[in-house]
């Protein structure tokens, strides 16, 4: 039997940790919200500013869960509904006009959703199991079984599961950490509650 040790929800200008509000957005834009949230973490990681919005969201949600974590064998199971569509559209706009054809390499590198896993792995020095799934909604049944399998077979000591949505300024992140001990039972009911 495994447990959820901590969970984070970010949506509609609010960040909650274990269902308690820990940050409220006083700014108008997602960019300003992310910048203030990043600064509130008191970390120095200039690469954060180069990330696209999906990565920034995954980075912050993961940071809030892994900030004081010493375990490095943490599997990452991320998922969302639209892959990297927001950045794909930005890239597409930059190559739309043949007379103004200047695709940005810095934008292009984010036209894959699993780069979110890469950014979090680099930040926390993780060389662990990982997967990014694209699905209409959070696949509770599958991801519950996947996390349990990784832990039971000793392929990971902990599993960080996350749903990250970002498209046209609309955003939502639901992240939770699964391990041996925690505050909630690792069950489909609890996962559904966290990711609702």
């Amino acid at each position: 039997m495994y447990a959820i040790s901590k969970f984070i929800n970010i949506s509609q200008d609010v960040v909650c940790e274990n269902d308690k509000q820990i940050f409220h957005n006083q700014e108008d834009t997602f960019a300003a919200f992310m910048k203030n949230l990043y600064k509130s973490l008191n970390i120095s990681y200039p690469k954060f500013y180069k990330m696209d919005d999906l990565c920034k969201l995954a980075f912050i949600a993961s940071e809030l869960l892994l900030q004081n974590e010493t375990e490095k064998d943490i599997a990452l199971l991320f998922s969302n509904n639209e892959a990297s569509l927001d950045t794909d559209l930005k890239h597409q706009q930059s190559i739309q006009n043949p007379k103004d054809y200047y695709p940005s390499p810095a934008v292009f590198v984010y036209t894959l959703p699993n780069i979110t896993i890469g950014e979090v792995s680099i930040r926390h020095e993780l060389k662990s199991e990982s997967a990014f799934f694209v699905a209409e909604k959070y696949q509770t049944d599958y991801l519950y079984k996947y996390a349990e399998y990784l832990l039971k077979t000793n392929k990971a000591q902990k599993v960080l599961c996350g749903w990250i949505h970002f498209l046209n300024g609309d955003y939502k992140a639901d992240f939770y950490l699964v391990e041996k001990m925690g505050i909630l039972e690792h069950s489909k009911e609890q996962i559904n509650d966290i990711t609702k």
Binding site: K35, Y49, P103, S104, P105, A106, V109
Partner: protein, 85 residues
């Protein structure tokens, strides 16, 4: 040349999202890569696009970038000598 260097510093900061760095923080001869601004390989590609888009300079060989992007000083000299717009 001084105006071009200032312009380049501003464009580098904007193009590479160097959020915590101001124009005053970049000295003309500071290395752009390594211990200097700490730019990476994607930044190098972005600088190649910047030369093309803003100054009409197409680098035929990306390896040229190693010499050109040593510092704002070397970039400015290259731009001044090769710009088409």
């Amino acid at each position: 040349m001084d105006a071009l260097k200032q312009e380049l510093k501003e464009r580098i900061i904007n193009a590479l999202n160097l959020e915590d760095i101001s124009i005053e923080d970049i000295q003309d001869n500071d290395p752009l890569f390594g211990d200097g601004l700490g730019l990476d390989s994607i930044d190098a590609l972005e600088l190649i696009v910047l030369l093309d888009k803003e100054y009409g300079i197409k680098l035929a060989d990306p390896k040229q970038g190693k010499e050109i992007f040593q510092s704002v000083e070397t970039m400015a000299q290259f731009v001044a000598a090769n710009r088409t717009k």
